[in-house]
């Protein structure tokens, strides 16, 4: 409904044209350090269009940093991140790649959206205001268009009756669903979910997860999901990457990796998490 049919047809067509299609996201030897601490260590990762990748691992393993680099909240120390073949943190100039300027970054990052652990809704705007703000001022939609779309999205996340409420009047789960709608309103091709249920009371986790499932059913969006919800990862993700010490320690099809991990570290982690 929100993504056009041609678009999804184009994706299928592109996929048919063999492997020459660039991955939707590519990390090419990306290193991120905070001081002496190496958070990501020469990481390579390709994500195919419309693939859903769950990223799991102990805290401090670099999984959130991966998303933050892709959202340009952090800048890599080394390496290049590509979005559908186009460099994000670098840009071509005179046949070389140089650090990207803000204009380049904004153009490429237009295709990426992110949902945060702590929602980060704009507290001075209503739920609808949060959803229409950027479409009006960044995408340049008319107010009317933005409101129509914003209401559709709030409907989809089940909150159209809360459209005029401020974030402070909503529960955590409701705030997170508004945050998802706000992100979708920018029509991203790639959505990043950074532990989006970790700050929620247990009984509110389900409503957020089912919202994400619904997006998966209704939209063609590449998703990178950092999560501790192993059940959700197993049933929703195409692939699971287990991160440890700034590297992908093991990865594979979700069901396979989560039920039958090969690497001893993965086994230990899953044992600890699943109990």
């Amino acid at each position: 409904m929100l993504k056009t049919i041609e678009n999804s047809a184009a994706v299928t067509q592109a996929a048919d044209q063999n492997q020459s299609t660039p991955p939707m996201v590519r990390f090419d030897k990306v290193t991120k350090r905070f001081g002496d601490l190496v958070v990501l260590n020469a990481l390579d990762l390709d994500v195919a269009p419309n693939e859903r990748v769950a990223i799991i691992g102990p805290s401090g393993s670099g999984k959130s940093t991966l998303l933050r680099l892709l959202m340009t909240l952090e800048t890599p120390n080394e390496g290049v991140i590509y979005v559908e073949g186009e460099p994000l943190n670098m840009m071509p100039r005179n046949g070389k790649l140089v650090p990207a300027d803000e204009r380049h970054i904004r153009r490429v990052r237009q295709r990426i959206g992110m949902v945060f652990q702590h929602f980060h809704l704009f507290p001075h705007m209503s739920a609808l205001g949060n959803v229409i703000e950027a479409p009006i001022h960044v995408l340049g939609l008319s107010r009317q268009e933005a409101v129509t779309r914003g209401e559709e999205l709030l409907e989809m996340v089940g909150l159209v009756d809360k459209r005029d409420q401020r974030p402070s009047q909503l529960s955590g789960g409701q705030q997170q669903r508004v945050a998802i709608a706000r992100s979708l309103a920018m029509r991203p091709d790639i959505m990043l979910f950074d532990e989006v249920t970790s700050a929620l009371d247990p009984e509110l986790v389900g409503e957020v997860l089912s919202t994400i499932r619904r997006i998966g059913e209704e939209h063609n969006i590449t998703m990178l999901i950092v999560t501790h919800e192993m059940g959700f990862a197993k049933e929703f993700a195409d692939r699971v990457c287990f991160f440890d010490e700034g590297k992908i320690c093991e990865q594979g099809p979700a069901k396979e990796l989560l039920t039958n991990p090969q690497n001893p570290r993965t086994q230990r982690f899953l044992q600890a998490v699943l109990g």
């Binding site: 959202m71 980060h120 704009f122 974030p167 706000r182 992100s183």
Partner: protein, 218 residues
């Protein structure tokens, strides 16, 4: 009691005081916002210029600044009328303090808000005026209330550069009538009344701007 016969002249002075306060406050807001945003800029030059402004005007006395603009600028061929010297000097002075108030309030907005503006691909400028500043304003109002009252009181300095403000009128009347007790008590009360008006205004503003932000009084 002939307080009543002082009143017309005193009210005339109070009106001048009010005008200077209002104009200086306006200038201080403009200077404060400009300098605060410059100090938060990515560009070293802008940060440097703003820092020099803030340090010079905070680090020297308002009276000396007034005298300097009044007595020294004419030597460089710059002649500004005293009334304007009055509100410009005080506006620049209070603006330097205000810049720090504004910068602090902007920096106190949670980092996640900046990150959310990046995630919806706003420009830095859009992020600032659509998301960050609206949330910073409720936090800057109480200190701006203080500064406004400081400013109101500092306007009495302009009486020393020939401007007929409330303090000037009081001294004039006192020199003529020697009714010191009545006159200066009346002046005191008039300043207090004006300060209370400012306080009330700020309180309204604070209430209005923090509505729905999910904070504020219990």
């Amino acid at each position: 009691m002939d307080l009543l016969r002082f009143l017309p002249l005193m009210l005339e002075g109070a009106w001048v005081t009010a005008q200077i306060t209002a104009l200086a406050l306006l200038l201080a807001l403009v200077m404060g916002f400009t300098a605060a945003l410059m100090r938060l800029s990515r560009y070293r030059l802008l940060r440097g210029v703003a820092t020099v402004y803030v340090e010079v005007f905070r680090g020297t006395s308002a009276l000396v600044q007034l005298f300097w603009m009044f007595y020294v600028l004419p030597h460089f061929g710059v002649n500004i009328d005293p009334f304007m010297v009055g509100w410009v000097a005080l506006g620049l002075n209070i603006g330097a303090y205000g810049a720090e108030v504004i910068r602090g309030a902007i920096q106190a907005v949670p980092k996640g808000q900046y990150e959310a503006t990046i995630a919806v691909n706003m420009t830095r400028w859009q992020a600032m005026y659509r998301v960050i500043i609206p949330q910073a304003i409720p936090n800057m109002i109480p200190p701006w209330g203080n500064l406004s009252i400081e400013l109101l009181k500092a306007t009495s300095l302009v009486s020393l550069i020939t401007i007929a403000d409330l303090t000037f009128r009081a001294r004039q009347l006192n020199d003529r009538t020697f009714e010191t007790v009545e006159i200066f008590t009346l002046v005191l009360l008039m300043y207090l009344a004006m300060a209370l008006v400012i306080t009330a205004g700020m309180r309204l503003l604070e209430h209005y701007t923090s509505r729905g932000l999910g904070r504020g009084g219990i």
